[in-house]
């Protein structure tokens, strides 16, 4: 995109809160209906409350810039590898149009941004996925960016924090190349792991398919937002295949935690603090002098 071609080097990009996009937005007015409790919520209040319904705790989906605003220290984010552009390697019918539409809709060039940031003073490599960009699915560019996130972290001796929202899993329009990103990213995770560095994976609603079955579930510590859908096969596929009624709460973060798949469920308002604490516990500053 043009903005990338002649980019001045912004050592610290200012967070762009105007790019906030809440999903399930049914009205253009001052009020937002909560899809869970059906209450009308005053939008200004919603923004202050991390886009969480005050009545029932429903976590609205948020875009990458709002996420950044919520978790990263202000002014700490330096976006990296913005210059990768998706192609249509399989000449998949309609893919180029879909990419253009997604770019239009989100203002992003792809479904994931990466960069260096600090969380409560703890430096880290940070990647954030945006569900609004083709359901946060992973094609070559997302896979490459995730891989470079870990590579940069190894280079800089930093922990990695990733917010996944890959409901679309591996992006089918790039066929086998999307599938191969599962391998590539998992291998990058393991290189980083073998360098003795921390990887915090935060699963946001929804994290499914090839994203969950690769880098997203390989964190040292797995955190999920309340109610987030987390699993491999989507609930509809499971229902259609098994012709069984799905149990209550199937594939929610709470379900995953009960079944031993994640470490912690953290309210959005507590995320910054919890991430900061964990990062600091794994920081270099704390090694005992013996």
């Amino acid at each position: 995109m043009f903005k990338d071609l002649f980019r001045t080097k912004p050592k610290y990009v200012t967070v762009r809160p105007q790019a906030v996009s809440i999903k399930q937005d049914t009205s253009a007015g001052l009020w937002q209906k909560c899809p869970q409790c059906m209450n009308l919520i005053y939008k200004k209040g919603l923004e202050k409350n991390y886009y969480v319904c005050e009545k029932c705790g429903f976590h609205f989906r948020i875009g990458v810039w709002e996420r950044l605003r919520q978790v990263a220290d202000e002014g700490s984010f330096e976006e990296l590898h913005t210059h990768l552009a998706s192609e249509n390697p399989l000449d998949f019918p309609g893919y180029s149009d879909k990419l253009a539409q997604a770019q239009e809709k989100t203002g992003l060039d792809e479904a994931l941004i990466i960069g260096q940031a600090a969380i409560q003073g703890n430096p880290c490599m940070l990647a954030i996925a945006d569900f609004d960009f083709m359901a946060g699915s992973m094609g070559s560019v997302v896979g490459e960016r995730v891989t470079r996130t870990f590579e940069a972290a190894i280079e800089e001796d930093l922990p990695v924090v990733i917010f996944s929202a890959g409901g679309g899993g591996a992006r089918m329009q790039e066929g086998i190349l999307s599938l191969m990103q599962m391998a590539k990213t998992s291998q990058a995770v393991e290189r980083h792991n073998r360098a003795g560095l921390l990887y915090l994976s935060v699963l946001t609603n929804p994290t499914l398919g090839g994203v969950y079955a690769s880098f997203a579930s390989l964190g040292d510590i797995l955190i999920a937002e309340p109610g987030a859908l987390v699993g491999f096969a989507g609930p509809r596929i499971v229902e259609e295949t098994t012709r069984q009624k799905l149990p209550n709460g199937f594939q929610t973060a709470e379900f995953a935690m009960e079944h031993g798949m994640i470490d912690k469920i953290v309210q959005r308002k507590d995320l910054r603090h919890t991430l900061g604490r964990i990062l600091s516990l794994h920081g270099k500053g704390l090694v005992p002098s013996a």
């Binding site: 552009a85 089918m172 086998i176 590539k184 291998q187 079955a213 390989l218 491999f232 149990p247 798949m261």
Partner: protein, 327 residues
């Protein structure tokens, strides 16, 4: 499909019937029909090539699903000696949808693993139609890690529509099991040859598909998603699976071009199910060649080469970035 024959094979089949009839006449009635037979044989040869060398992507998918296609255990039987099957994930269950064990390949001890479809309805039910649960992947990983301990090469034979999308599979962490398998398999210090022998469906195939050399049988398919599911999602119409198959570029020939696989193992004309022995012999020859080549690579560089192989996969444009240093 009727009697194990596809629709598109019908003209050929009828021709073959007529040839057989004429041959019967020749013997029974003592008539010399050799010229007529020769003509028809020639025509059949032509038709055979015409049909089997111009299969559409969807036809290849159907062929890869032929119920008489050799299964993993049949390939193991044909190719390896002294196979000892080993069981269990040491955690929850032995998954019959994935088999594995130790064997020798031309005198060399190897570990061989792979999903196993049933050869009849009863076995299919027992083996969940070859659709693995997480414990199947955990068993496979356990056996592969043992191969690593004993410096045994690994052969992974892949024929799986996908990891089972069931309630219990999700409860026991299907996604996590697949991710762990991919992760750990990538770093094993022994040579790994993967072969897509039939179906290579998505993460369920990739989980055991991280190899130094990745081969594919001529009529196998390997894709990020099954054509049916792709059509369902894209066009809300699973009957357009044929279009999806085309679009997904899932045949061996497509995939070699995309760098996802390294070599194609030829099948008997018409598919592996037409001649199991020949299919087995072809695969054996391919394994001999590929294992031989891998065994020559020093152990130290094997993992780095493997990682590099996957590192470069993907396609994107790297746009020029002009960095002006003024502030």
């Amino acid at each position: 499909m009727r009697n194990g024959l596809f629709e598109w094979e019908k003209p050929l089949y009828e021709l073959e019937l007529r040839i057989a009839e004429l041959q019967k006449f020749t013997t029974e009635e003592d008539m010399d029909l050799s010229r007529e037979i020769a003509t028809l044989e020639k025509k059949a040869d032509y038709l055979r090539r015409e049909i089997y060398q111009n299969l559409s992507a969807w036809q290849q998918v159907l062929l890869a699903r032929h119920p008489k296609r050799p299964t993993t255990l049949e390939y193991i039987e044909m190719i390896f000696d002294d196979f000892i099957e080993l069981h269990g994930d040491r955690c929850y269950r032995d998954d019959p949808a994935i088999v594995g064990g130790v064997a020798t390949f031309e005198g060399i001890p190897v570990t061989v693993i792979g999903p196993q479809k049933g050869r009849d309805t009863k076995e299919n039910i027992r083996r969940n139609f070859g659709l693995p649960h997480p414990e199947g992947y955990r068993k496979a990983l356990r056996l592969m890690e043992q191969a690593d301990k004993f410096s045994r090469p690994i052969v992974s034979l892949i024929d799986v529509v996908g990891a089972y999308p069931g309630i219990e599979a999700e409860e026991r962490g299907q996604g996590n099991a697949i991710a762990e398998c991919i992760r750990q398999m990538s770093f094993l210090r022994v040579p790994i040859v993967c072969v897509i022998t039939g179906e290579g469906g998505s993460g369920g195939a990739l989980a055991i598909g991280i190899g130094d050399h990745i081969l594919m049988l001529e009529h196998a398919w390997y894709s990020v998603i099954s054509p049916e599911m792709c059509a369902q999602i894209l066009w809300k119409d699973s009957t357009r699976a044929s279009d999806a198959a085309e679009a997904l570029k899932l045949t061996a020939e497509d995939l070699i071009g995309l760098g996802a696989i390294d070599a194609i193992v030829p099948e008997p004309l018409g598919g592996a199910h037409k001649n199991h022995q020949e299919a087995g012999a072809n695969l054996k020859a391919a394994l001999r060649e590929n294992l031989g080549a891998l065994l020559k690579i020093p152990e130290d560089s094997l993992v780095e080469k493997r990682l590099a192989r996957f590192r470069r996969l993907g396609q994107w444009r790297e746009k020029a970035v002009v960095v002006s240093e003024h502030r």
